[in-house]
Point group: none
Amino acid sequence: MIDTDSGFVTVLARRAQAAGWHLSQKTGPVPPRDLVAMKLNALLVDPAVLGDEAWDYLDRVASMLPDLGLVVCTSRSTVAQRVRGLRLGADDWMTKPCHPEEALARLEAVSRRRRRGRQEHEAAPLAAGELEIRPDRFQAFVGDEALDLTRREFELLYLLAEERGQVLEREQIYQRVWGYAMAHGDRSVDVFVRKLRKKLESLSPSWAYIHTHFGIGYRFDPEPAGIVAEEIHPAPEEAQPVPQSAAESQPETPSQAVHNTFTAG
Amino acid sequence: MIDTDSGFVTVLARRAQAAGWHLSQKTGPVPPRDLVAMKLNALLVDPAVLGDEAWDYLDRVASMLPDLGLVVCTSRSTVAQRVRGLRLGADDWMTKPCHPEEALARLEAVSRRRRRGRQEHEAAPLAAGELEIRPDRFQAFVGDEALDLTRREFELLYLLAEERGQVLEREQIYQRVWGYAMAHGDRSVDVFVRKLRKKLESLSPSWAYIHTHFGIGYRFDPEPAGIVAEEIHPAPEEAQPVPQSAAESQPETPSQAVHNTFTAG
DNA sequence: CCAGCTGTGAAAATCCTGTGAACGCAGGGA
DNA sequence: TCCCTGCGTTCACAGGATTTTCACAGCTGG
């Protein structure tokens, strides 16, 4: 909540606490970057506090945190202002004085909507190739061995697996896993895909799971990798002093060739 | 929209149409079952129309269609009523008289959220001739073989196919695919059309898809190519060591002749 | 027959992804 | 409190893939 109207703030805070909410009060604009870290459900803001940059601020918040419930609360406003705010990305616009109970109800409605698209499906284990993805453990298994995924890794894998067969754009992936808009030039998705591939490969080397779509993003689709990793004649110039065990070798298989399977099978 | 206030309804309908919305007007409660079939983005309802069962109706609609944006619009209401409605599942609550522009903005805000969690754009596959264009894969297929399009190629093809039958000017095409104005003398569109034609030809040789309109631009319209590819004397300099089976001939048909079909004046 | 357009092939420029490593931060333990 | 470890983020680089640009040849329309 970003507001300086102490009366309103106090009353609302009391009610919110009574309702079991966690409410954080600010008296000035909070950088969107910090809002991300706060993992809010909704934000109530009085643009009067923001000064000249109110519109700009609303715009930035709405575009950086598309999943945040954004409610504006002004003392007075014109239709044009309200329309502009709502078009900009605000989810609701209230006019003071407003009953705190209604404010809470509107905040609730706004966050409810936010949540709706998401939940419902959690807890559904997914099977893909040799892989079993279990949301109840935040882990993926091959047989009974865990991939030892971190939280982000798991969430990325789960998202991709949920949309199996579909090509997901980086922005979309980032938005849905990280929860806020991807900054231009961010490579996090790529890095995590690499980590996933590495772990997948170590436990399920004969399958290709994550496919790159150049200029777009990634697609999850388990495919027996034998097709590509077939017997290519060993590169002659490569001296291989220690022919390692069959299980761990294939140093010549160009990993790129495996990954860049653009042709959706 | 469920309302009987003809003035409000009329004005709103006009504005909605101007904004390109599809608006359906009802004057009485519509069974939630039917609402499902209508595949609405949002529902605007005046509980006065619903009579005694207003609350019950709102409750049923909200619980049966969790993804529907539900906006209530009353002539007068108490805080308690608004709170109750919002808690019940309504996404917004407006009070008449309200500016139609604001009503639209609120409806828009409500549906916007709904859409966020799901696919940003409609993943409607297009079919054209032997071709199937699938936005979910950013790819086009003939049978089960992919054309192996790059992103730009795909977007160009998709745009043309969306506007099937229409002649699109180069500037227009560039603007919509590249996202910014075309520099004078830029030939990118031509080059990409060539790439598309080449890939289309390789997988679907007996169809002509993209037609040139001299001095204007291009038109997408799948046509069996036999019409134009009539018996032109085989190019003499082309040695044809293996005269292929009768079924598959027309190998030397100058592709250019096929493309420049100025059918539309 | 001319001026202007379009098709073509290839070179040049740009962009994208895989990859390894460094950096910063937070939590746990000593 | 300080150090260690695990994790997520950022960086720079290399190798490719893709896009843009060019020059030229073949059409088009008047």
